[in-house]
């Protein structure tokens, strides 16, 4: 048996040694262009892949794309370290990009690129740039809710009149981004008061936006806080469904625009090609495609918003400056948890 133990030790040592030895094979190529790049995309395949195919057809650059959940792809990049095969990352959550930027994993982008979008839609240190946006709305069941009862502000929802009627997704990235924006605007104390008010109202919990939209459509819950395009999809699948988007006034916190952003990794050996892809995504024709296909807001200045949603220009609360919050999303998650809104 002691032999076996020794063997175990040797094997374990071998694995640790093998890992330790491998850490110095970092390569950095000069020039920064390549005939093929790898993209990790938190945006779904059927939206992004046709665009990547068009990019390849136009430029001759081959693009390999891995699709997944934005947060989990960020974890993957973080764990891969400098050996990451990814050149470009596309994330539905600016928070995930902020985390990677904070760890020095994102390369600064050129001014030509970042100046294509408004100041609110890019990182202040130019590590990532917004590609498209979606807006927070109150989705409601038109059979159950009188339009006169709809709130004028997301802050009204803590009123006892809304008790048990408004669904939230406290674990969802978009809700967390929204709470982070609220911390920016109101400070932590007032944000906690709002969250506790929602908790006191027994706001039903759901895991994500689409689940809330489905529940509102069924009539399981009257209203919910979601991003605007989920209900547009639900209506396409079943035009008779009773769920309707209520857009809050442009200056309300509840009408936050959440950015889908993209960045080039600092470990990429083809940063110039990566940047070329981002420039192409912000070109007017690609931005028009985004608006038509997904009903998301194009972020490039001068490209029209999709039909059926309010124009983007009027919205005062445009995006979140994560730099203002020392603890970033960790603090937001702690605030959400301590409020008791999670049930």
């Amino acid at each position: 048996m002691t032999n076996s133990k020794r063997l175990f030790g040797v094997l374990l040592a071998f694995i640790f040694l093998a890992t330790a030895c491998g850490n110095d094979n970092e390569t950095t190529a000069d020039g920064g262009t390549s005939e093929s790049i790898t993209v990790y995309s938190g945006r779904s395949e059927d939206l992004i892949q046709p665009l990547l195919d068009a990019f390849t057809a136009e430029t001759g650059v081959e693009v390999e794309a891995r699709y997944g959940d934005s947060a989990e792809l960020a974890l993957l990049i973080q764990t891969e370290g400098s050996s990451s095969p990814a050149d470009v990352v596309i994330s539905q959550s600016p928070g995930a990009l902020g985390l990677l930027a904070g760890e020095g994993r994102l390369a600064p982008l050129g001014d030509d690129l970042t100046s294509m979008v408004g100041a609110g839609f890019r990182a202040s240190d130019s590590t990532w740039v917004g590609i498209t946006g979606r807006i927070r709305v109150v989705v409601y069941n038109a059979d159950l809710v009188d339009a006169a009862d709809l709130p004028d502000s997301v802050l009204d929802l803590t009123d006892p009149a809304y008790a048990g009627r408004v669904a939230v997704a406290p674990g969802n990235g978009s809700f967390q981004d929204f709470v982070t924006a609220m911390r920016n605007e109101l400070g932590d104390d007032d944000t906690l008061v709002w969250l506790e008010g929602m908790a006191a109202n027994d706001s039903p919990n759901y895991p994500k936006n689409s689940a809330i939209v489905e529940a509102v459509g069924r009539g399981e819950v009257e209203m919910g806080l979601v991003n605007h395009y989920y209900n547009l999809r639900a209506l396409e699948a079943d035009p008779s469904v009773a769920s309707v988007n209520h857009f809050l006034p442009a200056d309300d916190l509840g009408a936050l625009v959440i950015v889908t952003g993209a960045a080039v990794l600092s470990s990429s050996d083809a940063p110039a090609t990566g940047q070329q892809l981002l420039e192409w995504m912000l070109s007017e024709s690609t931005q028009g495609t985004f608006a038509a296909e997904t009903q998301e807001y194009p972020l490039r200045d001068g490209v029209a918003s999709p039909d059926g949603v309010p124009a983007l220009d009027g919205f005062a609360v445009d995006t979140i400056d994560y730099d203002l919050l020392g603890d970033g999303l960790t603090g937001t998650i702690e605030l959400i948890r301590s409020s008791g809104i999670e049930q």
């Binding site: 794309a65 891995r66 050996s83 095969p85 674990g171 999303l329």
Partner: protein, 550 residues
């Protein structure tokens, strides 16, 4: 004969060989010992990663564990897992007995259908259940003309318990059915000749002889329920996995600390089950050709209806909901995102899912067999430890398993060349699902009596020849049951597939997720249906046909 209790084993069924040394068996040959150690080390790697991350991030474990935000979700996780394990044990064992050992009409069809609910990814199952049973769902619409306009809520504990029971009982069903099909009918026949009712026969003869298989399944159900995220999230039951999910990116010390707690819970449960298992008497069986069937008599319609009603909820209901969504897309005049369908796009993922499932099943069984062998035959402590690592790996979230492989493989010489290729993806699957094969393999080894091998040895058969021609055929039903479980789980696996699959290697699970994520409900439903159909075909072709000798 031992009709009344397991405490009075018939002399020839006691496994004399395996009761003697309770410490490490001196007969563990170096080759076997090496294999066991290698398996143990590989399966240790995800835990080593979690421990290392906790140290690296400076996690304050004490503070995390005693926090009310941890204690309550942990309590809910344990309560959910225990209740699901209990109900799955009852349902899985009952179904196995009715479909294998009674004259239940249509039992061959039931036998193919019964394992299938396992293949629903739990988020798909929960979505279908909600669409059917939730407030405003399909059932309520159907019942509303009859004056029933409010079903009891399926959200929270009730819904999570129901969904997990409906979709995990095959973990019990498969090993128990395999065990029953290998049991000699002589005891049951004797009991019946003595005029015992089917229920008495079941309780006094069948139950004692299948308890090892039942425990094997219950353990898997418990660990699955503890680690499940999809169902509890959709049904709004805040367990430990929900906390890990919410913290996974922006509060990594806590997420990693809670993952360690989850791994610790798994290890405790595995060791507790193991010590129970040690005290259980090992019943040897020999395979017989014809198992006689217990006549259900006047109970036939009742049992038939109960089986039909249960499988209706676990399989036919979800399939009907998915079929409705898919059909709505296929027949739509106007094609929109929600209704767009492309059956041709499912061909590649179907092939990839089958390939990954079959390869993983074969590798997993081959990898865990030495551990199961050393555990069952030699009662080796070393193998016991390796076995604990293998089984506990099932309780870690898939993302954690995937990240641990990224961590160990990306910069390692030799291995790094395999990064994000099929071989390494299969390693991830085996790490996550090896537990399902090892418990079934353990049952299989129990089914290959040592005395038969000894008899062959006295006739001059070599060790290899004895293994191939005597033991392997006896173990086959159990091994195939384990392989079947691994195959079904692999085909629905999502988080590790998304992170580690070769780029372009789409599976049906990633297709379900991709389409669902972009709101293409019809396409997502069709992919789910193809996954169920593929699972049915493969389960029958690989597992059932060979277990039952149809």
């Amino acid at each position: 004969m031992a009709l009344n209790s397991s405490s009075t084993p018939a002399p020839e069924t006691a496994n004399a060989g395996s009761t003697a040394p309770s410490v490490a068996d001196p007969g563990l040959r170096p080759g076997l010992a090496l294999a066991v150690v290698a398996v143990g080390v590989v399966f240790l790697s995800p835990f080593a990663y979690v421990v290392w991350r906790n140290v690296d991030l400076g996690t304050d474990l004490g503070e995390i564990i005693w926090d009310a935000n941890t204690v309550h979700p942990l309590r809910r996780s344990l309560w959910l897992a225990s209740t699901v394990a209990l109900s799955a044990a009852v349902v899985g064992t009952g179904l196995a007995w009715f479909t294998v050992r009674t004259d239940l009409p249509g039992r061959r069809v039931w036998r193919i259908l019964a394992p299938l609910p396992l293949v629903f990814p739990s988020f798909v199952g929960a979505t279908a259940l909600l669409a059917g049973f939730a407030t405003g769902g399909l059932i309520e619409e159907i019942l509303s003309p009859f004056g029933i306009d409010a079903l009891p809520s399926v959200r929270g504990f009730r819904g999570a318990w129901l969904v997990l029971t409906l979709f995990t009982y095959p973990y019990v069903y498969l090993p128990v059915a395999a065990r029953l099909s290998a049991l000699p009918p002589s005891l049951e026949e004797s009991a019946r000749l003595l005029g015992r009712s089917p229920w008495v026969v079941f309780r006094t003869v069948v139950l004692p002889q299948t308890s090892s298989a039942i425990w094997a399944g219950v353990l898997l159900v418990f660990l699955y329920a503890v680690s499940d995220f999809g169902a509890v999230a959709l049904l709004g039951y805040d367990t430990l996995t929900e906390q890990i999910y919410a913290d996974r990116l922006f509060n990594q010390p806590r997420a990693m600390g809670l993952s360690l707690v989850l791994g610790g819970v798994a290890l405790v449960v595995v060791m507790a089950e193991r010590s129970l298992d040690r005290r259980r008497q090992q019943v040897e069986v020999t395979r017989s050709r014809e198992a006689l069937l217990v006549p259900l008599g006047r109970w036939t319609p009742v049992v038939w209806l109960a089986v039909a009603a249960f499988l209706g909820n676990a399989l036919i209901g979800p399939v009907a909901v998915l079929g409705f969504w898919g059909w709505r897309g296929l027949t739509a005049d106007v094609e929109t995102v929600g209704l767009s369908t492309d059956l041709g796009a499912l061909v590649g993922p179907t092939i990839n899912s089958a390939e990954a499932g079959l390869l993983t099943a074969a590798v997993a069984v081959a990898v865990v067999l030495p551990v199961a062998w050393a555990t069952a035959r030699h009662r080796s402590r070393l193998a016991g430890a390796a076995n604990a690592m293998v089984v506990a790996g099932f309780a870690l979230p898939g993302v954690v398993i995937a990240l641990s492989l990224v961590f160990w493989a990306i910069d390692a010489p030799l291995i790094s060349a395999w990064y994000q290729t099929l071989p390494l993806l299969i390693v991830a699957y085996v790490l996550h699902f090896g537990a399902q094969a090892t418990r079934a393999a353990r049952v299989a080894v129990d089914a290959a009596p040592r005395r038969m091998s000894d008899a062959a040895a006295t006739l001059g058969a070599s060790r290899t020849r004895r293994f191939v021609s005597v033991e392997l055929p006896l173990m086959m039903p159990g091994l195939l049951a384990g392989a079947g479980l691994v195959m079904l789980s692999t085909m629905k696996e999502l988080p590790a597939t998304l992170l580690l699959a070769p780029i372009g290697f789409d599976t049906l699970a990633t297709e379900i997720w991709n389409a669902g994520d972009s709101g293409a409900l019809a396409q997502s439903s069709l992919a789910s249906l193809v996954l169920v159909a593929l699972s049915a075909v493969l389960t029958w072709a690989v597992v059932l046909r060979r277990i039952d000798n149809y």
